[in-house]
Symmetry: C2
């Protein structure tokens, strides 16, 4: 398995055609995209291309946002934007605001990002409105431009209970089954494995995240090559979410 | 970044020298191990080499094991072996026994494994007694055999709250800092990032886990090449554990 970070992705502006920038960067490297590849894109540039920017000074915080801002020590306008994308507050503590995003996953600050947004410290970035749709549309455009039809994953970094450090996770996808169910597969000794659901797409997200790096040396698009996957045209990022009634840790 | 799975690793027996088998497999591929590489090893073969096998029919379950066996639907002897390595039961439900392992992490069944252990259905495999020490000793042996001193990670697959599917995580390590603290690093716009601890070693574990696969096509050793890391001779897997008082999800 090989992970190829695309250099030369320019700073993304609203309206930019990510697929086109990607294809150009791939060509500059002398590579060709194939349908065996998997394309992994950092959420941040998708949000930027889709113009998901909010100017905090134009936001009026609700009473709930003001209350949560007091608890967490975060700015009330910022908390208000977090609440726009929140269906349930999971934990609020000093320096922590953990919520269930309206897209279904649990993350700090509903994924609202203040870093690398632009030169204006007042701007924050929301997640794409519908990351699965974003992935589908980027994939469709890749097909138009190259003929290849690689699965597309849009990823973010999430913290975790029990363990330190954020890891890449998939928040939008098109074209592959994100969870591999190995129940019933025989092991080396032909005994049936009882239960092995593998977090396939999240492991790809974690791998790509290593190459993307963070902060200054960022590289927001990674091509994963040489990893067999199960194509699935109906798959969506919500397939990775543990149903609430099966979840013992909320 | 490139991940190279080593084929031709034979079925491991107690007492096998994993470093020697690894070096032979690397040589057969025409490769040379360098100190830029990271070596990732599946826990299972380390446990096998260290002889961490238990014959369930020889185990006498305690009253607590019998009680937990009733709740979870698991065999009482198996639960007894889980309890040997357990400091606290986190959740017990039908088909789920989630515990804090004495090594500090939270995982299902204390990592006790029934699959791919051997032809005897009666045998289970415990985790290595001290996986950091195992990683150190494999690394020491690699230095003796090759002169190279790559970091060594021993990984397992853990389930997670909120999201479906297991992902690779590090349970033993030697030679690199497992969590990268980017606090204070400037972002693209020279604004200070407030808080970005990256789960570096766990992301490597997830990436390697993709290559290892599961079940029949297993490939238990993966070389990670082309990923810069922060050397740390004092690092240990417990550095990745969230201190209990900081953990809101137990």
């Amino acid at each position: 398995m090989k992970l190829i970070g695309l250099p030369n992705i320019p700073f993304i502006q609203p309206g930019d055609d990510l697929a086109e920038l990607m294809v150009r960067a791939i060509q500059q490297m002398g590579l060709i995209l194939t349908y065996h590849d998997i394309v992994v894109i950092a959420q941040k540039i998708v949000s930027k291309a889709e113009g998901c920017l909010v100017r905090l000074s134009e936001v009026t915080p609700s009473p709930q946002a003001i209350e949560l801002a007091k608890i967490t020590g975060k700015a009330a306008q910022y908390v208000e934007v977090v609440l726009w994308d929140t269906v349930a507050v999971i934990r609020a503590r000093p320096n922590l605001l953990l919520v269930e995003h309206k897209l279904g996953f649990i993350s700090a600050n509903a994924g609202i990002d203040q870093s690398n947004v632009g030169t204006e410290p007042d701007m924050v970035l929301r997640l794409p409105h519908d990351p699965d749709a974003s992935a589908r549309s980027i994939r469709q455009r890749l097909i138009e431009l190259t003929g290849a039809k690689p699965p597309v994953l849009i990823i973010d970094s999430h913290g975790r209970p029990w363990r330190l450090g954020t890891v890449g996770v998939v928040i939008g996808l098109s074209g592959l089954a994100p969870v591999q169910d190995l129940r019933g597969t025989a092991d080396l000794f032909a005994r049936k494995l009882q239960h092995t659901d593998v977090g396939f797409a999240d492991q790809i997200a974690a791998a790509a995240s290593l190459v993307m790096g963070q902060a200054a040396e960022g590289c927001p698009i990674v091509i994963v090559r040489g990893l067999p996957f199960t194509p699935d045209e109906q798959a969506k990022a919500a397939d990775v979410l543990r149903p609430q009634e099966m979840d013992l840790f909320r």
